[in-house]
């Protein structure tokens, strides 16, 4: 047992009764017929049984007496030369969503994109992806996408709209309102468009604004741009409210860099030091070594205190002692060099202070790069407010909007909508009927990015190209094509784009190579350098200090890792059903409050627990008079005076069926709680929160599977690890060591060992494998698959969860069924807290990805009455769906709780039509359009069977076949599981354990032997997945409430 007590949710600490009940009744479904204590004593069980028997026999007879359907095999009329049916093609492209960027590789089968992977050739993201990048392929097949251009809500032709818009452009002042544009060729097209129509102004607006940073950088360095942050080079990272691993700026890029400094081994026990000050609990805060909370309005003062501590050595004098301690320590570490400070605030003055600190600690040119800057965000809030004012005054004749949805996410959306109604010609390029498009006269839907040609320049001289994976599904037109049509360019954007790049790359051959690679980058390491800080720090500090920290409750408007700012993601069922890493809630947004605040709201520990799905609803009243009612979710680690709501929810029903906010799901819009401070938008504001008598159900998945408080994670401080790297192995040794020898040989020697220490090592593991059981040991010839997951680098971002869903056709079950524990995720990320729930600063959080452990001595295999789950010669725990009869014994017997029963025909795989829900409702995934996303190499499961992780067996088989065809052995690293491939922080290693040269073998037996452990190893399940212990670079691992931990004392 490690030194630390973890609780997966607050009930672990307090209300044990409900928890135990839930743990005991894993499948709380009631049988569909009357069943009293004695089967024969019940009212009519026998008759019911006969009825069911009769019905099923009759049904089977009818179905089987049907004639075999005549199926067609239709070949291509003219087969495209580069497509072989059954063999995937890969195209390098770029994921773009506003300023969010990720170089990708599109996997297409028979010409339709089915999966998106990171492009490993990019030096920026190095093959990493995020949950949203993984889920973007589902957006392509979204039923809610607009299928044709529209005028006044009716279908129209491009030509008709072109005519009207051209007339409009010729007359009054016109505006082109876009999100940040990373594409150099699009910027060129816009410039040409403005040259043709000089009365057009281009305004950039970002849903989540980084205006504060842009303006501060302009003031400090004379460049309105963002720097590049080299997290890999940072020894000390101080983040003031920046969720850089989850949502801030470029999380994939930062995760790659950050994980570089978080890789640790006994041979090289060096770890970067990460301080996090935040108001809410983010995944970045969870990864941090030291963490403290503050009010959002206090963030500027924290920055100033840090500045003073760094520059003058002044001891900070903030209200919170933890905060003061953290700032003092952080300042000391920053001064050692290779430091970096990032800040999530959108306040210009705060960001100037941050720039000043980075300048003083010598970060510029080392960890903060001002030579190769970043183009991720370009929007300045003042431009947008000016535009709204202009629209209001009736000066604007035409407005064209691309990639923006101000009617939903603008700080004062009502004002924007009112102003929009005064513009005569309103054009939207929205791909769906979003809140803004509904208010526009003309809609020319843009292609999805997987249907588009394009490019991106995330950093100067770093380019990526975008090519379509499929021809446009609908009658849509690229934005650039619209602009070019209106300026009578006489060519399409695709032609223009190709010419642009062949010219720029001087030659067709270079262009072809670039298109194949997807990236064009300067050789060698990224150019780095500093700029002289020229900001007025005194003025900035004065301005920050002039704003007093708030006193009452403050609300923070934050982004969820999955949904982000909203947009198309709000209607992506994969993302909606991805549990939020911290709250583990799905399908809703809610009011996050600290446990202490929740007690005041009478929401927590009074029956409204995580297990109880019904949540207390609180009414939130904003300073601007906005009032909404939201369910209360308790989040340990939040500041006690802070509440938080996520963006991206509360969408209009025309945005899509999954996004639609109604009485049962979908949440509320959080943007009304943002505030404009005259320069930039603040993502916090003072509110009053009052409890109501209402209740609202929220589906939280954390409690759906319980380990009954058995220890599953191991965590050490860096100090402890350096002092005794073998501590974990000693712990393991004491558990398994006794079973690693044949008892009768050891009998005499046992006394000798008494008092001595068992230290687990590979030999002991082998001994335990062989002698820990009565059964014979199975040798594994050739291949034996194994996986290792590093808890130290895992940030809980959820990219693997979505990668797994996309690869393995995993069903989305919807909120109603998620509430009933019917979720189907093969891979979940468990979240464990430790610390004192009443003090947010003490909370330490660990994430543990949990998937089928592919036990060599699997408890599930032994109990299957039909042998539907059994073991392969490669160490895979196999699941044969067509053999499964759904007894659920395996799920009951699985100690890891990774098996999921398929309760409904989620994917329309059933032989009976409309057999999905009781009311015959069919979900979007049953639509032919949405079903195009399914991976044809993986069975689409119907109801009544168990499902679980297969180690992406289809990929293993494919890689083996490739090797066999080439007549060579498998190359280590040739095959990657979907989760491994999607991970932005390289936490997952996978390979053949029998291969002594493989990465996984070396890692387990040599490099990381000290940190290796297996979950619940002592029950001799012999898992094929090992974990690497978490090492926190902090002075202490905050102990849990051992006394209060009833589960612990009761069970162990």
């Amino acid at each position: 047992m490690s030194q630390k007590q973890y609780w997966s949710d607050l009930q672990d600490l307090s209300n044990i009764a409900t928890k135990t009940e839930v743990a005991e009744h894993e499948f709380k479904e009631e049988l569909p017929f009357d069943l009293s204590d004695s089967v024969f004593g019940a009212n009519t069980p026998r008759r019911d049984f006969l009825k069911f028997l009769g019905f099923s026999t009759l049904a089977a007879t009818i179905v089987s007496s049907c004639e075999m359907p005549v199926r067609k095999a239709i070949p291509y009329a003219i087969k495209p030369e580069d497509i072989t049916p059954g063999v995937p093609n890969y195209y390098a492209s770029t994921f773009i969503d506003g300023g969010d960027f990720c170089p990708i590789v599109i996997k297409t089968r028979e010409g339709r994109p089915i999966k998106v992977e990171g492009n490993e050739m990019s030096s920026i993201t190095k093959g990493g992806t995020s949950a949203r990048v993984q889920a973007s392929v589902l957006n392509l097949y979204d039923k809610a996408r607009l299928r044709h251009p529209m005028a006044d809500g009716k279908e129209a032709t491009f030509e008709a709209i072109d005519r009207v818009v051209k007339e409009g452009l010729a007359s009054k002042q016109a505006y082109l309102l876009t999100c940040s544009i990373l594409s150099p060729s699009t910027t060129e097209v816009v410039a040409q468009f403005i040259a043709k129509y000089p009365n057009v102004k281009h305004v950039v607006y970002d849903a989540i604004s980084y205006s504060g940073m842009l303006q501060a950088n302009e003031a400090s360095y004379g460049k309105r741009t963002l720097p590049t942050y080299h997290f890999d080079k940072a020894a000390t990272i101080v983040s003031l409210g920046a969720d850089f691993l989850g949502t801030w700026l470029s999380p994939v890029e930062f995760s790659k860099g950050y994980s570089h400094g978080r890789k640790i081994s006994a041979k090289n026990p060096v770890l970067s030091k990460h301080y996090q000050v935040e108001s809410i609990h983010t995944i970045t805060g969870a990864a941090a070594d030291d963490r403290a909370t503050c009010r959002p309005s206090e963030m500027g003062l924290v920055a100033v205190a840090l500045y003073n501590a760094v520059v003058n050595g002044t001891a900070p004098s903030l209200a919170s002692a933890n905060l003061n301690k953290l700032i003092t320590a952080a300042a000391a570490d920053l001064k050692k060099g290779n430091g970096m400070v990032v800040c999530g605030s959108n306040d210009v003055h705060v960001q100037i202070v941050i720039n000043a600190i980075n300048d003083k600690i010598g970060a510029n040119g080392v960890t903060v790069n001002w030579v190769t800057t970043s183009n991720y965000r370009q929007g300045v809030d003042k431009d947008m407010t000016d535009l709204v004012t202009a629209m209001e005054s009736g000066q604007v004749g035409t407005i064209m909007m691309h990639g923006v949805n101000p009617a939903y996410d603008y700080v004062d959306s009502k004002k924007f909508v009112a102003a929009l109604s005064k513009v005569p010609v309103t054009v939207s390029f929205a791909e769906r009927m979003d809140e803004t498009a509904q208010k526009c006269k003309y809609i020319i839907p843009d292609h999805h990015y997987l249907e588009s040609w394009g490019d991106a320049e995330p950093k100067p001289n770093y380019f990526t190209l975008m090519q379509p994976g499929i021809a446009p599904l609908f009658k849509t037109r690229a934005v650039q094509d619209s602009l070019m049509a209106w300026m009578d360019a006489g060519q399409t954007y695709a032609e223009y784009w190709k010419l642009y790049w062949t010219t720029r790359l001087s030659g067709q051959a270079n262009f072809d190579k670039a298109l194949q690679d997807g990236v064009i980058e300067p050789a060698g390491e990224m150019a780095n350098g500093a700029l002289a800080f020229a900001g007025n720090i005194g003025e900035a500090i004065a301005a920050v200090q002039a704003k007093k920290a708030g006193t009452g409750v403050e609300i923070v408007v934050y982004q969820k890792v999955a949904i982000g700012h909203g947009g198309a993601w709000s209607n992506n069922p994969w993302l909606l059903e991805m549990p939020d890493p911290i709250t583990r809630a799905v399908w809703d947004n809610y009011l996050c409050v600290s446990p202490k605040r929740a007690k005041e709201l009478d929401a927590e520990l009074t029956g409204f627990t995580e297990i109880e799905t019904k949540k207390r609803v609180a009414s939130i009243k904003g300073a601007n008079g906005v009032t909404i009612a939201m369910p209360v979710i308790v989040v340990p680690g939040m500041h006690n005076d802070v509440v938080a709501i996520a963006t991206g929810y509360g969408r209009d029903k025309m945005v899509g069926r999954a996004a639609a906010s109604d009485a049962t799901k979908g949440g509320k819009n959080a943007y009304p709680f943002t505030a404009y401070n005259g320069l930039t938008v603040d993502y916090f504001s003072p509110v009053t929160v009052t409890k109501t008598a209402e209740q609202y159900e929220v589906a939280i998945l954390q409690t759906h599977s319980s380990y009954e408080a058995r220890p599953v994670v191991h965590e050490f401080t860096l100090e402890e690890f350096k002092k005794d790297p073998k501590a974990l192995q000693k712990e393991r040794g004491s558990e398994i060591g006794h079973y690693a020898q044949v008892p009768w040989i050891e009998e005499g020697k046992e006394a000798h060992h008494e008092g001595g220490e068992h230290i687990a090592n590979p030999e002991m593991e082998d001994g335990y494998r062989e002698h820990g059981t009565l059964y014979p040991n199975h040798p594994y010839e050739g291949l034996k698959w194994g996986m290792s997951i590093d808890l130290n680098t895992c940030t809980g971002c959820g990219a693997c969860v979505i990668g797994c869903m996309a690869e393995n056709n995993i069903s989305v079950v919807g909120k109603y069924h998620a509430l009933r524990s019917h979720e189907m995720h093969w891979l979940r990320i468990d979240r464990y807290f430790s610390g004192n729930p009443d003090d947010g600063d003490t909370i330490q959080t660990v994430f543990q990805p949990m998937l089928c452990q592919h036990c060599d001595n699997a408890p599930c295999e032994n109990v299957c009455p039909v042998s539907a789950t059994n073991h392969s010669t490669e160490g895979l725990n196999q699941m044969a769906y067509n053999r499964c009869i759904g007894t659920k014994y395996c799920a009951n017997n699985c100690p890891y709780k990774v098996r999921h029963f398929n309760w409904m025909d989620w994917n329309g795989a059933d032989a009976f039509a409309d057999n999905l829900f009781e009311d015959g409702r069919r979900d979007d995934i049953n639509d032919d359009l949405t079903r195009m996303v399914l991976n044809p190499d993986v069975t689409v499961r119907s109801r009544g069977v168990m499902e679980k992780c297969s180690f992406c067996v289809q990929r293993l088989q494919e890689a083996k076949l490739t090797a066999k065809k080439a007549g060579r052995p498998l190359i280590d690293g040739e095959v990657k599981t979907a989760c491994q491939q999607s991970c932005p922080s390289n936490s997952i290693t996978f390979g053949n354990v029998n291969d002594k040269e493989s990465e996984i073998y070396k890692l387990r037996k040599e490099e990381q032997q000290e940190r290796t452990f297996y979950v619940l190893e002592h029950i001799h399940t012999l898992p094929n997945i090992n974990y690497l212990s978490k090492i926190r670079n902090t002075s202490e691992i905050i102990a849990g409430n051992e006394k209060k931990d009833v589960m612990y004392t009761d069970h162990i």
């Binding site: 067609k72 009329a77 003219i78 010669t873 196999q878 044969a880 769906y881 069975t939 067996v953 060579r968």
Partner: protein, 476 residues
Amino acid sequence: MFYNKKTAETRASTEKHFLQNVYKFQGLCCSFASLLYKGKLIFKFIPVPESLKPMFRTCLRSIFSFFAVLLLCNFTAIAAPDGKALFMSNCASCHNPLKESTGPALQNIDKTFPSKEWGYKWIRNSAALIAAGDKTAVDIFNKYNKTAMTAFPSLTDEEIDAILKYVDEYKAPAAPGGGAAGAAQGQPGVTDSNGWLYTVITLSLLMLVVILWRANHGLRRSANEKDGVPNEKEIPLYRSKLVIAVTAILIFILSGYWLVNGAVNEGRQQNYQPLQPLYYSHKVHAGINQINCLYCHAGAEKSRQAMIPSSNVCMNCHKQIKEYTGAAEHPLKTAEGKEVNGTEQIQLLYKYAGWDPVKKDYNRDEKGNILATPIQWVKIHNLPDHVYFNHAQHVKVGQVQCQQCHGNIEEMDEVYQFAPLSMGWCINCHRQTEVQFTNNNYYSIFTRYHEELKSGKRTKVTEAELGGMECQKCHY
């Protein structure tokens, strides 16, 4: 031409039927023999006067030995290598017993070998002989355009003998159009008459038992009458409890068997031979004209799907070949016997392909795209959704001949499903098939097997030993 679905079935599964018959007959023999051997048991059912018992036993013993001998004969028959099967799976893709194809006609080819041993060497590895400069070998090699014969190192002497015996004894199927016999009749009727013979013997033996039993019964009754012992009242058969019980049990077992069998076969469609939108004869293309399967089904070595060619692949040849000229030697007919005009079918192909035979060019739209429409073939081989099958794995890696699963496709005008495509059928092959273990470097990681092969502890590695029978090889 006598060629319908029924005969197709007969032809396709003659061999299998034969084997089945043999197995069934063996079973019958076994059960009969054991029943007789347990003479005492018999006497419980057949009351025999004590005086007659010794004689009865002698009779029984002779019957038993008769069956035992029959049984033994059967086993020896099974143990000998099946020349036809070996020929079909190894040789048929390049050789015909009577006609020259890729390789020479094989009938009586063994007579041309310098020696029997030479023949074995040649068949196992002709390249080695040629390389060694053997004159006969080099001559043959040159005669056949230097096309190397595939090596069959795994064939044993007995197996080669069996193949040669088969081809030597092979008789051409009766000429098409000849009426009754028909090309589709397939291989020697011997096997059929064998089964017939066994059935007759079994039935007559059963008759004999019944007659003996009735005679015995009558004799006993008359003997009783003579001795003045009162006879039991005779119960008519239909009221006999024994008969009713046995019949009921038999009906139950048979109907259960029928039901289970029916359920198991649900969704299987062996011998399915649908009418296709275009009459395409594999016999004309792959058989008579010897077009390589992979020319059209190019995916078979690359992909899970063998791939049905698009019509532009057809047009590679049919731009030149505008009419069917082989109607004299091989008239095209559907399974129902309806005549098909080959030239008309080529015209139909032009329609699908968007080819204008007069203009000698494709019809194109304004963008220059060929105006072709795909041919909507009726899918014959249907696997359930939860089955993953990969052609490349079998064709490229496993070196399995197309015919092994698809039958003599080069003999089929209209394709039918040759194999049952049931899981049992797949598994059976996986169980026995020897993996090309030493030729493919992929398997080098299986060090223990290699050591065992080297040390002679094992002679081969089967698919099953490499996990070929595990669920997740085909179901995921």
